[in-house]
């Protein structure tokens, strides 16, 4: 292959390729212009790009949320409230007596004390 022939071929290829680039359709040219303006806009606002160090506060926030969710005490359910009740209250719950009894337990205590006092008092007529 002679150098002259190669030069001719390269020259023709260059002309053909350049012509194909110059004759782009209107839509492509318009989109290329938009792309160029977007790039120049990016150069104008370099801060709009996400930089690696921007992940640090985001990571810290995510970690804080995770810690909050994991470390937060779970809401206490009704069954847990029963389990945590003091032992004397547990006796009340487990007893076979009706709850009515425990509601008036002060009255019954007073009644029992009154009965006991009555037993200890001497008979009015002095009989023993």
């Amino acid at each position: 292959m002679s150098d002259q022939k190669q030069d001719e071929f390269e020259q023709r290829a260059k002309v053909v390729l350049q012509a194909s680039a110059d004759e782009l359709d209107a839509r492509t040219r318009s989109r290329l212009t938009q792309a160029r303006h977007a790039a120049l806009d990016a150069a104008r606002n370099p801060s709009s790009a996400i930089k690696p160090y921007m992940w640090i506060p985001a990571g810290a926030a995510a970690a804080a949320v995770a810690v909050f969710l994991i470390g937060r005490p779970a809401p206490v359910t009704e069954s847990q409230q029963v389990a945590a009740a003091p032992v004397d209250e547990f006796e009340i719950i487990a007893a076979e007596d009706s709850l009515e009894f425990y509601r008036d337990v002060d009255f019954y205590a007073w009644l029992a004390a009154a009965d006991a006092d009555a037993d200890e008092e001497p008979a009015p007529d002095g009989e023993v």
Binding site: A13, V16, A21, D22, T28
Partner: protein, 210 residues
């Protein structure tokens, strides 16, 4: 034109705030960046389109390359923009080709997932180029381009890169090596093989010059 001037001033303002250089230099740099992008965009698009064989993907690739150059390398000396821009462009082209290869391997067996860009018919009015040449010249150039495009299709990727960067963009061996990320010796080899293969394939259609 006025919009371009405004944009240049905005770019200048942004570069000023980065405190890289005096205002006059930065104004020049902003204008230079715009001029550089305007000068290379059409050829870059054609290089991407010939490598990818899809106009929409090629437009996306050029836009990505422009954005990356503007974001990361706008403050570099303007002499470095060309090899940097084409390096980014070639990387994007390779990424796109890899993606396609994977997609074809994974989904290629499905009916309807096989896409052949040559079979896709676009809007004929949009594809019609503007009349810068006379009709007779247009026919000759179009036929020559069609034949060249057909011949380029079978060229290995690296030979295609070397050929397009050297012939279309007019880069010298050193610039091409920088853009391709290889040695100057490799560029010479790829380019020489590309020219040889193309001359053989175009012998019939291009006649004397091939």
């Amino acid at each position: 034109m006025q919009a371009s001037a405004t944009l240049s001033h905005q770019v200048m303002g942004a570069l000023c705030t980065q405190g890289a250089a005096p205002e006059g230099t930065i104004l020049d740099q902003a204008r230079q960046l715009e001029q550089f992008l305007a000068a290379v965009e059409k050829r870059a698009f054609q290089i991407a389109r010939l490598a990818i064989r899809d106009a929409d993907d090629a437009l996306d690739i050029v836009q990505d390359a422009m954005l990356q150059l503007a974001r990361k390398y706008a403050q570099r000396p303007s002499e470095q923009w060309k090899p940097l821009f084409y390096r980014i462009l070639q990387n994007r082209i390779r990424d796109c080709q890899r993606c396609r290869m994977v997609r074809n391997r994974v989904f290629g067996w499905l009916p309807g997932m096989r896409s052949d860009p040559e079979l896709e018919i676009g809007d004929p009015y949009e594809a019609t180029p503007d009349d810068a040449q006379g009709p007779a010249d247009r026919v000759v150039t179009d036929e020559a381009m069609r034949a060249l495009e057909h011949a380029l299709k079978d060229l290995p990727a690296r030979q295609l890169e070397a050929f397009l960067l050297r012939t279309m963009e007019g880069m010298d061996v050193a610039e091409t090596a920088e853009a391709m990320g290889c040695t100057e010796g490799s560029v010479k080899t790829h380019y020489s093989r590309a020219v040889h293969a193309l001359r053989e394939r175009l012998q019939d259609s291009w006649g004397g010059s091939a």
